[in-house]
Point group: C2
Chain length 477, copies 2
């Protein structure tokens, strides 16, 4: 930032304007409950208020915050509102936001160790910390045969895992010759849509994704998995990948990883475990059981950007055998060659992900873990789970609503007893009210409301008010 006249923002201006933005964010959190949680705008409404052409001459930064207030805020769905109960949360926190700011300020690329050694080494180190916090098997750590890497999302983690599975199953020849024969992937019929997307991207084809049926708890039935694998082998297909889910998106179901892991080991299949939302709970000893069976998994992911106060993007992806992942994704053109890489003594995270470039995302995760400490994180996870459990008890005690499944953690699935259309209309009215935001799914063919407690600032009062609002709105239907 030069002090000479130019179009650049000087450090002095950055200090002044940076404070304005910091204050704007603090103000935003202080008044966040005054906004409707779900944006109440029509398609095209936000865009219609924007100037048709970019400015030829620069404009003063001060006007930007006014415009954010006036033009952008009406079109914001407030994911950080304590009244946000939809989808899975994408919670954030002060230390994470400041970590992201610092990362943007440093502006380094972490594609190779040498392009910023601290970016790589802090990431490796904090992911080893995190593996211990989650009780992951030692081989998922960099000090073992594996290690962790921050991806943008669980979608990308699943894709990387599938690619490594595809290559391992074909002696790393698919990368060379392309997909040949029918490689088959398996997951429960409750698996996240990103696995279907990954199967398409990787060239396997949707027809070669087997969606295994589930039990009454919506968890994969391992005997059906085993039968399907055997059948596919008999048909000359090449089973290569299983995705088990800990905490499905629709209902929070936990696939039986120990049994699935045994099958994968016997069959030589790559087992990826997607715990995108639920994994964070394992930081609490009493919920660590959700990770039972991971000793047999090849890869695992969970998202601090969902339920651990770390703003998006921060998916933590762990592999048990880093060599398989690197052999799958590594490319070394001349212009990226360097002594450190050739020494073999360093990690180049470019070979652990789809893109080449990468930001310094470990900073925000480091800040969050240090700011809260393990005890602080446990405190909030337990609180969220307790609030969801209490909400489930209210549902159960009500004669207007029914629980669809007993919630294990912080996601409650319930229905109005009046049927699908009543539940759907209830959801639409609640979301239009702006007082809370919840979403839906379909379970057993029936419309089901999802109420997920995981927003950073959700307290008992918000859950109680939501329940009151749900009851009152239902009564008025």
């Amino acid at each position: 930032m030069s002090e000479k006249p130019s179009y650049h923002m000087t450090p002095a201006e950055f200090r002044r304007l940076g404070r304005q933005v910091v204050d704007w964010i603090a103000d935003y959190y202080e008044r966040i409950e005054s906004f409707p949680v779900l944006a109440q705008v029509e398609p095209g409404q936000i865009r219609a208020s924007l100037p048709p052409a970019p400015p030829l001459q620069g404009e003063p930064f001060e006007t930007f915050l006014d415009d954010v207030e006036r033009l952008i805020l009406p079109g914001i769905t407030h994911w950080q509102s304590p009244n946000f109960f939809a989808f899975f949360p994408a919670n954030a926190s002060g230390p994470a936001i400041l970590g992201e700011l610092l990362s943007a300020g440093l502006g380094v690329q972490g594609m190779l160790w040498t392009t910023s050694p601290a970016c790589t080494e802090l990431e490796t180190h904090v992911l080893d910390w995190f593996a211990d916090m989650l009780g992951l098997p030692a081989r998922f750590k960099s000090t073992g045969t594996g290690g962790g890497v921050i991806q943008d999302s669980a979608s990308s983690a699943s894709l990387c895992a599938l690619l490594a599975a595809r290559e391992r199953a074909t002696g790393y020849q698919t990368n060379e010759s392309g997909v040949q024969g029918r490689l088959v992937a398996y997951a429960s019929n409750q698996v996240h849509s990103s696995v279907e997307k990954a199967v398409k991207i990787a060239g396997l084809g949707r027809q070669n994704l087997r969606l295994i049926e589930v039990d009454e708890q919506f968890a994969m039935r391992p005997e059906v998995l085993a039968r399907q694998i055997a059948e596919d082998r008999r048909a000359g297909l090449i089973p290569c990948f299983v995705c088990a889910t800990i905490g499905t998106t629709s209902s929070g179901a936990v696939d039986p990883v120990p049994e699935i892991g045994r099958i994968c080991r016997e069959e030589g299949l790559w087992l990826h475990v997607d715990a995108a939302m639920a994994g964070t709970a394992a930081i609490c000893p009493e919920f660590r059981f959700i990770h039972d069976g991971l000793e047999q998994a090849d890869s695992y992911c969970t998202n601090p950007h969902k339920w651990m106060f770390t703003n998006f993007d921060c998916d933590c992806f762990f592999v048990a055998d880093r060599a398989a992942l690197i052999q799958t994704l590594s490319i070394l053109p001349e212009y990226l060659r360097n002594r450190a890489t050739e020494s073999g003594a360093v990690i180049d995270y470019r070979d652990w992900q789809i893109p080449l470039g990468r930001r310094f995302r470990a900073l925000k995760l480091w800040f969050v873990i240090r700011y809260y400490g393990i005890e602080g994180l446990r405190y909030h996870i337990r609180r969220h789970i307790a609030l969801a459990q209490e909400f489930a008890r209210w549902v159960e005690a009500s004669d207007q609503f029914e629980l669809v499944v007993r919630p294990l953690l912080n996601l409650v699935c319930f229905r109005h007893v009046g049927g699908d259309e009543v539940s759907r209309e209830l959801m639409e009215r609640l979301n239009r009210s702006g007082k809370l935001y919840l979403s839906h799914t379909v379970l057993d063919g029936r419309f089901t409301l999802r109420f997920c407690v995981g927003q950073t600032y959700t307290e008992a009062q918000h859950v109680a008010r939501a329940w009151q609002q749900i009851q009152e709105t239902a009564a008025a239907l």
Copy 2:
């Protein structure tokens, strides 16, 4: 941010600590030239100074900035230093950093229109602005048949383009049935490594990527492309995708897009144009010629996170036919269904990219375009190009060095006349000095130094000092 006792940072604390981080960043830019550009640490050195285990109890935020200073900065390669001339730049600026901060503060997910309409509509709008700034054909705009989307990187953009090409060429059946037969992709032998990675990921196989030979300017020879396509068709293969590059990584070469486009149109192949670095230059009318021929392209990308003062990640990816991209990447599970999507009146950017989740990256691009204005951006692009051209003249006038190719824009490729080992040793010494950072490639089989002028704060004095340093170090060899 609750004011009650909890582990959360309160808004008041956020104001105070946010200022500290803003000031730290301003300080950092004021003293950035005091650090060695390339981090001078050994593998493992940064990590060795970090505590072996995460803290059980939270720690005060104030200690984090001290630790960044003490433990992290020695391992930072300073991409924002005005003495950074390596690779391609990843330049940033005040308005971009503050846009990123605001995005982290708002913490919204832009996966669907409904999950934050402003996030989607601002992105669509600003990318239409940007298309006009770059002189892209009208069909690349959302008001035509196409539109733009922000991706994390040109690697991901290439992958999305390749997938759409693969599907279009096979009637969208590869997504269903998997890769069948030999689908072939084409690019010059100077293409970025990410295209090879994409070809592997998409299941085509490296053997089915044809690296077409180049002319003496390292630009693709279109007649060789045409011959290769014909040969592949005769052999029963399925040509589907061509990647042309505007500004190759090794030497800044520009493939002849008009001729390549003609071939692609005749042959019905998807033409993707990768202008990751160089595209920004087209904002200046006198450099707009680099975009000649784009009328025949199916997709295009350029990275404001390289050379347009917008911190990583911000790759702008445009398609001429958005339906092809959406049909390739769309998946709609029940839990993401909503009225807006079903109305068909909105864009859901989840269907334009690999991951599901996405941050509000349009804010920083909006801020940069508005803060600089088109004239401000042109000023700096012209300045960078002029500085690189001047550097090239010094090289040319020197009897110690030779230009490898006449630079078109801001990348200068040169060699020491003493041969590969001298050039390599020169680079190592320069980079070890910490006074500047430059990188290398191999052109015509010979070690070649790359000097790219594109860092936000690089002024004439930095280029002059770099040249002096290069001469002095060479003299001492």
